[in-house]
Symmetry: C2
Subunit: 282 residues, 2 copies
């Protein structure tokens, strides 16, 4: 909802985050959701979906590097990568920054997000013209259901919150399908919400992933425009562990990253004590 | 500023954070600042100073454990500890949770903060009746200037932002005085602001501390009610390094902490890549 020059996001948990907005650049209603892009006062251009900030030029690295690089820097092979969602292009850019990647399939359900991002967020998505990118505007759940067994080295779920079109991405049967299309030593990484604002969703995701994957490791860092700052992603694999860093890839990424490096990689997997206790009870 | 039932904090950087408020419990104007305590909808009771949230019952561990425990769990001796500021009592509680502490001097300039916190924030400050606590309502800068050389093992600066009464706590001559009253292997820790919202202050603090201390290590974690989530504290010492953990102390703290443990200790000192580059240029 807009309040004069402030675009304010209200969480059920009695918390609001607002960004000062200079002007609207795009507003559209797709078959799935309301898509808006703003020029903000201090965070560059920002994308909002159904009234929730997804990303801004100023803080997008905090989200995209952390979703993508822990998986990309540990999976033994990264030739074939699948991104589900990620319509702003930031995750594709992070994936394609690795020269080893041969093919990056990006399945985004909402073409309006892609079109608006291409036009108004060019800083976030310089990957659109990379010949290794295979962009598909279709339902990610359907795509995963029809993909061949063991056809991907890395699967990244860059979805919005578990309401609206992303709801079906937060459940056990979808995670089983992801495991099926991954190589046995492949890695799945997903954004898994704020452990404070979406506590139940966060722990449900952990419990569901543990039913399917042998290695399940949530990790934590701030995303400045997301409420509470403390955000989580989760790393899941049958046999690969987050500690198994491929150092040449990390060194390559460190040359251009804002956040990610070897120390950050290890640091983000530290579990806060209260979350460690809860996970031990799952 | 109050907006109906929302208490909203506006940063110069085009960002707002609001907490939903059920009712006001206390509002007073001291000689130094405006002091308010609210019952919020979902963050428990919260303290605001001059319109800025200082802490809430729900998220205070994120701030207090991180300010206090890295210093307390690494300083070779922790018999004598000085807290400057910290009027809500949370830092004193963290210090006094260590049985090794013999004396904790807390110098808070504003008696109104202490009185209101004792009355309305008892969950945060159970340390008020500990006989090891020596509470002094006076100017921390003056106290430090008059304290004897090498009289403290640990000094913690739990001040608000570098405006108002806390302004004199953010400068090189104050840091020199802190170094003088610390044991040679003692540790100084301070909150050093958001590296995103107060970028200049953050880097100025690093540069000033490096002029006085041989070991200067900023560390980062989210404080949910603070804007951008990504907050910083800085660890400084002449000879003690953050890696020199006293494991028995960490194990003791882990029994009751919400956030802090050995992995978190090591993880928070990881420098984001853009900050690492800037620090290398200082």
């Amino acid at each position: 909802m807009s309040k004069g020059l402030w675009y304010t996001e209200t969480f059920s948990d009695g918390l609001q985050v607002g960004l000062k907005v200079e002007r609207s650049l795009f507003a559209g209603q797709s078959a799935f959701q309301k898509v808006e892009i703003f020029e903000t006062a201090r965070f560059g251009r920002a994308l909002a979906i159904d009234g929730l900030f997804m990303t801004s030029e100023r803080d997008e690295a905090h989200y995209h590097e952390l979703l993508v690089q822990p998986a990309m820097c540990t999976s033994p092979c990264i030739h074939n990568v699948l991104i589900i969602g990620g319509g702003d292009g930031g995750s594709a850019r992070e994936v394609l920054s690795h020269p080893e990647v041969q093919r990056c399939v990006m399945v985004e359900i909402d073409g309006m997000v892609v079109d608006a991002s291409k036009k108004y967020l060019p800083q976030i998505g310089p990957a659109w013209n990379d010949p290794r990118l295979e962009l598909r505007i279709e339902d990610g759940i359907k795509y995963v259901g029809e993909a061949s067994d063991q056809s991907f080295d890395v699967v990244l779920l860059d979805g919005s919150d578990p309401v609206g079109p992303a709801e079906g991405l937060f459940n056990g049967s979808f995670y089983k399908e992801v495991a099926r299309i991954l190589k046995p030593d492949g890695v799945f990484a997903l954004q898994s919400e704020s452990p404070m604002l979406f506590e139940k969703v966060f722990f449900d995701i952990q419990a569901l992933l543990r039913k399917t994957f042998a290695e399940v490791h949530p990790y934590f860092r701030s995303v400045p425009i997301y409420g509470t700052g403390e955000w989580s992603w989760t790393y899941a694999s049958q046999s690969t562990h987050p500690r198994s860093l491929v150092s040449s890839r990390v060194e390559h990424i460190e040359g251009g990253s804002d956040i990610y490096n070897m120390d950050i990689h290890h640091g983000v997997f530290a579990l806060p004590q209260a979350i460690k206790r809860r996970l031990a009870e799952l």
